[in-house]
């Protein structure tokens, strides 16, 4: 049997990889890609805790589903914003979109 720790460590690693992507990529779409990885890592955790905890309690799966919904919403709005910004400023480099400063 696979112990719980393997799943958790996999999730932590995937989360860190996603975090790196979100922090370091220049392209806004790539940042969103990183965020997707982080959300998936969360889902692995949720599913693992469901399986390794009390199976009859569906909380883990339910919240994984809700994470799906949040991810879909995030991508829809995020990409819409990216496209809108691209139309306005002709760039999707996150560092170039820095009007909101002093």
């Amino acid at each position: 049997m696979v112990p719980l720790s393997w799943y958790l460590i996999l999730a932590a690693a995937l989360f860190s990889v996603g975090l790196f992507g979100a922090l370091s990529r220049r392209n806004a779409v790539a940042i969103l890609l990183g965020i997707e990885l982080m959300l998936n890592a969360v889902n692995i955790n949720l599913a693992a805790f469901w399986r390794y905890g009390n199976v009859t309690n569906m909380a883990g799966q339910v919240f994984a589903i809700i994470v799906f919904a949040v991810a879909a919403a995030e991508v829809a709005v995020g990409l819409a914003l990216v496209i809108s910004v691209y139309r306005q400023r002709n760039t999707v480099i996150a560092d170039d979109i820095d009007m909101m400063k002093f």
Binding site: V2, A12, L23, S24, R26, A47, A72
Partner: protein, 169 residues
């Protein structure tokens, strides 16, 4: 080492490797395709966790919709199909440091937790996880409220996305 562990390790390395490719590949289309590979890996992880419904929904929602959207977005936001300039920002080393620190911190915290090496109990026979999940999602005693909130969120996101991305002439 049992067969299941071997499968898990293979899938985990595949998932992590393709995840790593997602954040490092220069070509964004390739990054999106690597993301799909990662998502497949996660779907298999779900299947290994006996969460078949999640696995299928993962494929439907992530690969069928989200990843496709990403590819569309990448194609829509490029002046040409080449990748110019660096793909990492100036502080990428700092981001890497923070990521490593995060992983280290999480690993450290997990080490101190006594439930870490737990193994899974067998799923009781006749237990219909999909049915239970469906009941849990609509039962007022369970999670109907989060479920409804999620649907409201989706509607709001839908309207917002259409509004933001609409090409006002």
């Amino acid at each position: 080492m049992t067969a299941e562990q071997i499968i898990f390790l293979l899938v985990a390395f595949f998932t992590l490797g393709s995840g790593f490719m997602v954040v490092t590949t220069r070509n964004l289309i390739h990054a999106a395709l690597w993301l799909i590979a990662t998502l497949f890996g996660v779907a298999v992880i779900f299947a290994l966790l006996d969460a078949g419904f999640l696995a299928v929904v993962q494929v439907v929602v992530y690969i069928g919709a989200i990843a496709i959207l990403f590819i569309f977005a990448v194609m829509l936001t490029r002046k040409d199909m080449r990748d110019q300039g660096p793909q990492m920002n100036r502080n990428w080393w700092f981001g890497a440091l923070i990521s490593v620190l995060t992983f280290g911190g999480l690993y450290f915290l997990l080490q101190g937790w006594n439930g870490l090496s737990k193994t899974a109990a067998d799923i009781p026979s006749g237990f219909d996880a999909v049915g239970e999940l469906g009941n849990a999602l609509v039962s007022p005693n369970a999670y109907v409220l989060p479920f409804e909130v999620a649907s409201v969120l989706l509607v709001a996101a839908l309207v917002g996305a259409v509004y933001v991305a609409f090409n006002w002439k």
